[in-house]
């Protein structure tokens, strides 16, 4: 039963990603070759994705550790707000970054005041900076889930044994990271692999061409479906390779049950350690919050002058987000349960597929599949909800899978001996203990679905515009102030949704 549900979800994901790719490839026919430009695009894509993932994760570890062992007023808000960069329409986040790091941004203004030469954000370093801005918060959140999962008893035992912070890191934290880091790194690497607008805009020129842009060009200007499908296929192969490596490196954490006591960190009391954590948290908060603050300030005037259709789009987007979140939660749970029950990596792989699917190929392929049987415009919003759910699934899985494995490792034998199976096991054992990660996953899915433009453009009918689409429409009509206002609205709604779901999942627990 578990395997059936998981298998059905995996099949759906396969259809959405590989199936749409096949639809495009079949439509094209014939054979194609890669050009020299494609190869250099491939090299640049891999380079920036690897750098971005490595940097995001290595910065996230100390920040997440600092957040995990400190309690301070506003911590909960800080953690919630950290999700924001990931949720913004790409171009709005880029504007926020430029207000800080751009030619006339705060940083260069400060340097000029000090009589120092300015710095330019444009180039590979700018692309990586932007990707770290987007993904560092995600990595921190995923790692925090890992820290939360360490039973309080371990820290109690560590304190009783007189562990130093270094001992805690070696014996408690490192094994946890070994289990969580590969998946998180992989997810970010794959997100950056399909980056397109950020890479081009901050890359400073055609040298910063990614594979996704090459796909875009193949579609839009050459209408060379074969080449588009080939390039998208290469992305899938890269994804598969990276996923296999990540699974080789990753080790499942050895689990011992805990009693869900509140975590007390006796090891983190030293003043120097407090100072170090304070500095880390402050720096991360500044790096993430200043650009967001500038986006917000920029958006306030426009927010008051938003035309009525934009508010309607906001409602529409909220509906899509909630539907998509429910879909994503259900699919992620089914996949994770099947993975835990069967131990088959195929379910992991299926869950990663949406990350590397080129949105353009996916949209076009779906269009080719839907168009002969139904009116695409009529199905625009349901398709958007489904695709967004699939796109958020890999992140939801990263939160759910480790938690579920842990539940089975710690309580599975007891449940087995009690004959607790099927629905009862899900209702009495798994869901209550999965509440936190599930809330986080649902919130993330809802928020991602609010922000993602995804495939809606090719399906959009008259009047079916979602909020991100309206942001672009406003920008396209010179209405930059209103676009900033609409972006602020989008940011607020995404964060609100995320906060609601995440809060619901946490109950009274603080983390």
């Amino acid at each position: 039963m578990t395997l059936w549900a998981g298998g059905a979800v995996a099949a759906l994901l396969g259809l959405l990603t590989l199936g749409t790719l096949a639809a495009v490839a079949l439509r094209a026919g014939g054979s194609v070759l890669l050009s020299v430009a494609d190869l250099s695009a491939l090299r640049f894509t891999l380079e920036q994705a690897a750098l971005s993932a490595a940097l995001s994760v290595s910065l996230a570890v100390p920040v997440a550790r600092a957040l995990a062992r400190r309690r301070f007023p506003g911590r909960r808000w800080l953690v919630a707000l950290m999700g924001a960069p990931f949720l913004l329409p790409v171009i709005v986040a880029v504007f926020g970054l430029l207000a800080l790091f751009g030619r006339h941004g705060l940083l260069n203004a400060g340097l000029a005041l000090l009589g120092l030469p300015g710095v330019s954000i444009y180039g590979l370093h700018g692309v990586v900076l932007a990707h770290v801005f987007f993904n560092l918060p995600l990595a921190v959140r995923l790692l925090l889930q890992g820290w939360r999962a360490i039973p309080a008893e371990r820290f109690r035992l560590a304190a009783a044994l007189g562990f130093s912070p270094a001992d805690v890191a070696r014996l408690i934290e490192r094994p946890m990271l070994r289990a969580v880091l590969p998946g998180a790194t992989l997810a970010i690497f794959l997100v950056c692999l399909t980056s397109f607008a950020v890479a081009l805009t901050l890359g400073g020129g055609p040298a910063a061409t990614t594979v996704e842009l090459a796909i875009y060009q193949a579609f839009r200007f050459d209408f060379d479906l074969g080449r588009a499908a080939l390039l998208a296929g290469i992305q899938f192969v890269l994804c598969g390779g990276a996923t296999l490596i990540a699974f080789r490196v990753g080790l499942p954490a050895t689990e011992a049950p805990g009693l869900d006591r509140p975590v007390e960190r006796w090891d983190a009391g030293a003043p120097l350690l407090r100072l170090q954590d304070a500095v880390l948290i402050t720096l991360a908060a500044l790096f993430l919050m200043i650009p967001l603050g500038l986006v917000a300030v920029d958006g306030v005037p426009g927010l008051l002058a938003l035309p009525a259709p934009v508010w309607l789009s906001a409602l529409r987007s909220l509906g899509v987000a909630v539907a998509s979140s429910a879909l994503c939660g259900g699919m992620a749970l089914a996949l994770a349960l099947a993975r835990t029950a069967s131990g088959r990596a195929a379910f992991d792989l299926a869950g990663m597929l949406p990350l590397v699917a080129s949105p353009l190929v996916l949209g076009t392929g779906l269009f080719l599949l839907v168009n002969p049987v139904a009116d695409p415009a009529f199905w625009a919003l349901p398709v958007t909800a489904l695709v967004n759910a699939a796109m958020a699934l890999p992140f939801a899985l990263r939160a759910l899978q480790p938690a579920l494995d842990r539940i089975e490792a710690t309580h599975g034998r007891l449940a087995d001996s009690l004959g607790l199976t099927g629905w009862a096991r899900l209702r009495l054992l798994i869901l209550p203990r999965l509440r936190g990660p599930l809330g986080f996953a649902l919130g993330l899915a809802a928020a991602l679905s609010m922000g993602d433009l995804g495939v809606i453009a090719i399906f959009a009918g008259p009047g079916g515009a979602t909020l991100p689409l309206q942001v672009y429409r406003l920008m396209g009509a010179y209405r930059m102030a209103q676009a900033s206002g609409a972006a602020l609205l989008l940011l607020g709604l995404s964060l609100g949704l995320f906060w609601l779901f995440d809060r619901g999942g946490r109950g009274d627990a603080d983390a």
């Binding site: 055609p206 842009l213 080719l368 415009a377 689409l469 930059m480």
Partner: protein, 327 residues
Amino acid sequence: MKVSLIAAGFCALASFAQAETPTLTIYTYDSFIADWGPGPAVKKAFEPICHCTLNFVGTGDGAALLSRIKLEGARTKADVVLGLDTSLTADAEATGLFAPHGTLPKMDLPVAWTDPDFVPFDWGWFAFVYDKTKVPVPPTSFTELAKTDLKVVIEDPRSSTPGLGLLYWVKDAYGDKAGEVWKSLAHNILTVTPSWDEAYGLFTKGEADMVLSYTTSPAYHLIEEKDATKAAAMFTEGHYMQVEVAAKLKASPNQALADQFLAFMLTDAFQSVIPETNWMYPAVTPKDGLPDGFDMYRPTKSLLYSADEAKTLRDGALAEWQAALSK
């Protein structure tokens, strides 16, 4: 069960409504049908005349519009496609899906119009737009621009029609020397964006000194924002044009209605909406003339390749551009 009954009833009703009034389906780019675009006004003006329902379908931008038609092929539901431009028409023509237009009225285009299928509905000149308070002395040509340290943001010709327009502009003005001109401009190019929206956004946020846009862009700021600081730099090489066109599909079952729409497109009711919604020059100047600000910039020389020339030159010009800027 109840829901499906309601749905069935709704569908039946909808098909009754359809049987009474014919529907004309027009594929267009997304910003045309935005609530602040020309679409709503055009629909309101045309429906009482044609006694039909005008159904606009948005498909992203102009290039996406053509991809969509190619994807759907002869089975497309579109009766009319509106919003391709002259860099795309040769490709569109080659699909064999479009039908010739009838005789056209006298139009106000700076170039002669001979295309048998596509009917222009608006046009504009590409230009670099700048802020007079920040750039007191604008460059007067590409070569002058190359001598300055001004930072411009341009659109990528591989993903954006203005970007492609700039490619043709330099090619048309400099021919075989286009590659060298791009090399000399490399230090001016702050960055390349996927589409016009991002580029113009970077400019209005103060990140770039100049942006590739249209000579009519300053008119938007003047009319809508009462802001007279934005200006278009006039280049001695002349200015490349963008002409936006529409055409009907051969396979459309609504040939007469499609013809009626294309004729309506060049009348005052349609054309007078264009300047202040699409911010382009109408193909036929309305009888009340153009809004203020539309006469600020009149390049003395207009550049435009024929559809076939544009198609032949594209890949070579793109390679030159890429080679010059990929360092």
